[in-house]
């Protein structure tokens, strides 16, 4: 938070000075379980996955293979296969479309609800806050199942008889809607608590000057919770990258979604349906490299903008 930042910088400097002086086994002991677990259950499997991405399965001899299938060196062929498959790029494109609709929608509605909750003399605040948060407790698979019932013409109470929720364009909104529905409440709570932690003196002065509620919300509160909004945006982008449950559960309902519709569905299909964990690993690393690349680019642009503004 803007207010807390200087305080933290100050304490950090002090801590740093202090830390050098004293050696204690405590921090090492405290961090050890996390590091060991991370190495065993995240880093080791990740390294194993890198290894797998350069292998493939080979069967030899006879019609159906005589010996046990062997893992053989595949070079970059799994990576080349992923990069040269137009369907992979299409799946990335579809994910981007959903991100472009879903991320702004999540931020907009989460902010709108958070500011409404904080508005003076708003009613039903406790109930609506809980209600809007509720979908977060519904598993993604279940959320998609029940939205599926709401979309299909046969069971739709929301006009599925007239609107094609599974049309070539409609499907993007249908999938995005399920995803946004699931996370908007969580993000609203983040923003709401951020608004609540602002010192009220800031608005009281503005109120005395005759500023309206709306003006206070937009001109004072909104800029002050910008760091929290950035956090929400970050969550939403990560969420879009990891999009999987919603389209997977909606898939059997219509022809609109294929088993490689978004990149992670492709990874899942390769690894869990087509017995090609090797290709699936390669696809994952291509995705990770693209994500890191994107993050670096965004970071650079962001710095340049910040740098220009400070001049």
């Amino acid at each position: 938070m803007a207010i807390a930042a200087p305080a933290r910088a100050h304490t950090q400097a002090k801590v740093q000075a202090h830390r050098k002086k004293r050696g204690s086994s405590l921090p090492v002991f405290l961090v050890a379980p996390a590091v060991v677990l991370l190495l065993l259950f995240t880093i080791a499997p990740a390294i194993y996955a890198i290894d797998l991405s350069f292998l493939h399965l080979k069967i030899s001899g006879g019609l159906l293979g005589t010996g046990t299938p062997q893992e053989v060196w595949a070079g970059f062929s799994n990576y080349i296969a992923t990069l040269s498959d137009p369907e992979f790029w299409h799946s990335l494109g579809r994910m981007l479309i959903i991100a472009v609709i879903g991320v702004p929608a999540t931020i907009f509605f989460a902010t709108l609800f958070a500011l409404s909750l904080d508005a003076k003399r708003a009613r039903l605040v406790g109930f609506t806050r809980l209600a809007i948060f509720l979908p977060y407790a519904v598993p993604g698979v279940v959320a998609s199942l029940l939205w599926g019932f709401l979309y299909l013409p046969a069971t739709s109470p929301i006009g599925g008889q007239f609107i094609n929720y599974f049309g070539s364009t409609g499907i993007f909104f249908s999938v995005t809607n399920v995803a946004v529905w699931g996370v908007v409440g969580f993000n609203m709570v983040i923003l709401y608590t951020a608004v609540r932690s602002l010192p009220p003196d800031l608005f009281e002065a503005a109120e005395l000057d005759g500023a309206s509620e709306l003006q206070i919300a937009l001109r004072i509160k909104l800029p002050l919770i910008a760091p929290a909004i950035t956090m929400v945006a970050l969550f939403s982008v990560i969420g879009a990258l990891q999009l999987f449950n919603e389209p997977t559960t909606l898939k059997p309902l219509a022809n609109a979604i294929t088993s490689t519709w978004v990149p992670l569905m492709r990874v899942y299909t390769q690894a869990n349906v087509n017995n090609d964990i090797y290709g699936g690993s390669a696809t994952s690393f291509v995705l990770i490299i693209l994500t890191v690349g994107l993050a670096i680019v965004v970071n650079l642009i962001g710095r340049r903008i910040v740098g220009r503004e400070s001049k």
């Binding site: 299909l152 022809n255 294929t258 349906v273 090609d276």
Partner: protein
Amino acid sequence: MRKSKLKGVTAAVGLLAAATLVLTGCTATTSATSADSSKTVHLTFTNWDGGMQTVVDEWNKANPKIQVKLIKPAGTGYTLYNKLITNNKAGTNPDVTEVEYQALPALISNKVVISLDKYLPDLSKNFSASALAQVQFQGKTYGVPQNACPMVFFYRKDVFDKLGLSAPATWADYAKAAAVIHAADPAQQIGNFTAADPGWFAGLAQQAGANWWTTKGTTWTVGINDAATVKVADYWEGLINQGLVNPEPNWSAQWNTDMNSGALVGWVGAQWGPNQLPSIAKDTAGKWEAAPLPAWTAGDKTVGIWGGETEAVTANSKYPEQAAKFVNWMNGSTAGINSLIKNVQVFPASTPGQALPALKTPPPFMSNQPDYNAVMAESAKNVRTFQIWGPNANVTFDSYSNAFASALQNKTSLSAALTTMQNATVSDMKKIGFKVNG
């Protein structure tokens, strides 16, 4: 940790015991069998069919020495087979598993299942050649066929009667009937074309004379976009484009509702349809009849299959002999088959099984059609399958779902989707190392 140490200890004890046996001159085999028969063997069995628990219970009651525990998998079809392949390396597979015919070659080539010739009696007495072709590869038997699933045509007798239609004998008749039905009531269609069920389309292709996979020696030939399959694709594409057939997938809530409400008055299905229909189209019970699948040329009785399974024994099983015994009881003995008919509503693959009195009465949903099982038996006799299922039918099937769903969604040609399937299948087979022509 502790467990593995223990394992080591037991192994050492075992070795010692074996050594003693050799020293004392005992023959290991007799002593082993006597030891086996004195203790109870526990088997695990993965199967997702409804009603299977009762069948297993009956076995357990009759065989106190070989107790089977049924496990419902959390995935069906290829997600399950893929898991079996992954778990095979870990050694954690169940002893016996359900396998649909088209997946067996993949499990064999990955050494997930074992050949049962050592443990099984001669099956050729009780099973037709076409049924055994589903479980025998290169002279080895990998399971006992459970059911025959000939494709048949289910239709709403009441609606057809009202319009003066009879069950279509040929696909040309089917198209004509489709036009009549849709003209009489634009909200009604004769059926749907499903991109969700590759096995369904494969069955239609089998009927038309397609051979997606053929082998010569150890070389494969893949012909998914052969002339016969293209003919089938073009035929359905015509019906879909005219709006006579609904391109919606089977099993979705939408399809259930359309079947129940009468928006769909026919279904190209298979023998097992009446087990599914009660929960899909309950309101229309008693209005459906089954007819032989429409033919390409009048008088031809050939049909394809959709579905069908066998039980196979895994390489991870410590008790293959007992597991094979269970498999053979279930799919090859009168008691087992009777139980399957009663509880899982199976139409058995075994020829004597097809003559069992239990099959004299039609399944409850078809009680209005006394000759239901006669239609099934007749169709079962005229089944034509591919020469063999490919070793990577999973890739082919996944490609079908994607390519056909996209083609239906974007209204592009279905035969082009066949080419996509062909290419995906061939390139995957080559990558894995199979010898493929072309």
